[in-house]
């Protein structure tokens, strides 16, 4: 059984709707959550964590299971297994880090106040300074110290790395690798730093935005996703030789044009002229997202 199962999650916020989001997450895996701004990544994470309910609107619905616990029927057990580090600081800005550990740690089984204090010291967060006076990076660090102070099964990280300095970012990713190394828990990390996400994530969940709806554009391993795409850099005059159905997006530059092609290995082998096949390369995740979401100049 997967550690986290999300079945047909539907959530409406304002006029925007997440529709039929389905994915699973095994223990020991890191799931990267990607998508353009406003596609519903934070909405999805909040629904998984429990900030958003799945019943206020008639169109809302879905089921979530964490470690076999149902999100509504076994609410307490479900939530106590989740730890989070969020871009929007979730604690009161009038409390200091020590008070947060003291006040909220009580509700999480196995919360270790001494460990919390030690982590705050390790991450150089002044524990007696009110949160409103902490920098964005310090707020992320204090949340991380809280999250690592109790034995959660699922760690949800919403845009955590953007405000961290380069040195701590490296240590942060190392913490994530350590978390999943024992295969007891899993991590969902949402980030716009797609290049870094590519290094750490085992699987990807790509939420695509179409009008007022967000749906799953892709769910699977990072390698499988890269395998679907190729980037071709050629002279614009040679565009005619590329089958239209392969082209997902293009970008025209001064000296050449770049084309993102989508298909299987067989498609590339059979449909492209032999002369062009040697010019194919695997695109980065960033390039895939750019061409697919923007469409290039298509």
């Amino acid at each position: 059984m997967a550690l986290l199962e999300c079945r047909k999650l539907n959530k409406k916020i304002g006029t925007y709707r997440l529709k039929d989001i389905d994915f699973t997450l095994e223990a020991g895996m890191v799931l990267g959550l990607i998508g353009v701004n406003g596609c519903g990544k934070t909405t999805l994470l909040r629904s998984v964590m429990g900030s958003y309910r799945l019943d206020p609107d008639p169109e809302d619905g879905g089921e979530l299971f964490l470690n076999g616990k149902h999100f509504a029927k076994e609410e307490k057990a479900y939530r106590s297994a989740i730890a989070y580090v969020l871009e929007n600081y979730p604690f009161s800005l009038n409390m200091n880090a020590r008070e947060i550990g003291d006040r909220y740690g009580y509700y999480y089984p196995g919360f270790d106040l001494k460990k919390n204090k030690a982590l705050l010291e390790k991450y150089e967060v002044p524990e007696k300074m009110v949160a409103s006076r902490l920098s964005k990076g310090q707020k992320i660090r204090s949340q991380l110290a809280f999250a690592l102070s109790y034995p959660a099964k699922l760690y949800i990280l919403d845009e955590p790395a953007g405000n961290l300095d380069v040195e701590f970012r490296d240590a942060f990713y190392q913490e994530i690798r350590t978390l999943v190394a024992d295969e007891e828990c899993a991590v969902i990390i949402s980030s716009h730093l797609v290049t870094e996400l590519e290094q750490i994530a085992d699987e990807l969940l790509w939420i695509g935005r179409a009008g007022d709806e967000g749906t799953v554009r892709y769910f699977g391993s990072v390698d499988d996703m890269r395998d679907r795409y190729r980037l071709l850099s050629i002279d614009s005059k040679e565009e005619a030789s590329i089958p239209d159905k392969l082209i997902t997006g293009k970008r025209i530059r001064e000296t050449h044009s770049e084309y993102l092609l989508q298909g299987t290995k067989e498609d590339f082998g059979q449909m492209l002229p032999v002369g062009l096949q040697g010019s194919l390369r695997y695109p980065s995740l960033q390039e895939i997202m750019y061409y697919t979401e923007k469409g290039g100049e298509r």
Partner: protein, 220 residues
Amino acid sequence: MKGYWKDYFRQERTIFRNAPYMWGIRIMFVVVLLCSGRFQWCVMLTSGIFSVGFYFSSEAEYLLPLTEKEWKTRRLTRVCMIWLRYLLLGILSYVLWVGLGYDESLLNTFRVSPLMCVAFFVLQMLMVFGTLLEQVIDSERRRKPSLVMVLPFAAMFYYWIHFIPSVEDNSFFAATWQVDILIITAAGLIEIVRCVRMFKRWKKEDYDPAAEKVKALQQV
């Protein structure tokens, strides 16, 4: 229920340990309330708007591993404890002001019509409870006030202004004191019904940072 009181006092100890200045603010508030005399209803209602929402407006509150019943009871416990404090301080304030002779007109009013004073105080405490309860229920806090909700406030305000009975028939605002009591009772009943309806409608809602008025206070 015992666990909730234990948790409440644990939270208070946490505040005292980590943010002792909050207790300083509370002591100042106690002094203000004790000195407020007949203005206490203004002080209570104004502070009631901010005193509970302050604790419950962060996203972490919505993420706590509690069942919905436990989550509601936690909030209700705090409301009851704050209301009890206001009740004790309110009585003490009147005793001080009247007992020490700082407010002779209030003392005269109490001698002429003690029932009216008690009725006014009961209405005041019902209003305070309603305000506190409203602040911990997300849907009520975000709801626009209706005319019916304003009526008890209007009644309380008018009686506070006219809190000196007429010499002829001991009435305050209406034709006779009996009608005054009826008006205050009606206002009290409206407030009780409002509180009961709020409680019955109470459901845990989505966390909505945009709707949290006290978020602005958090920036201070």
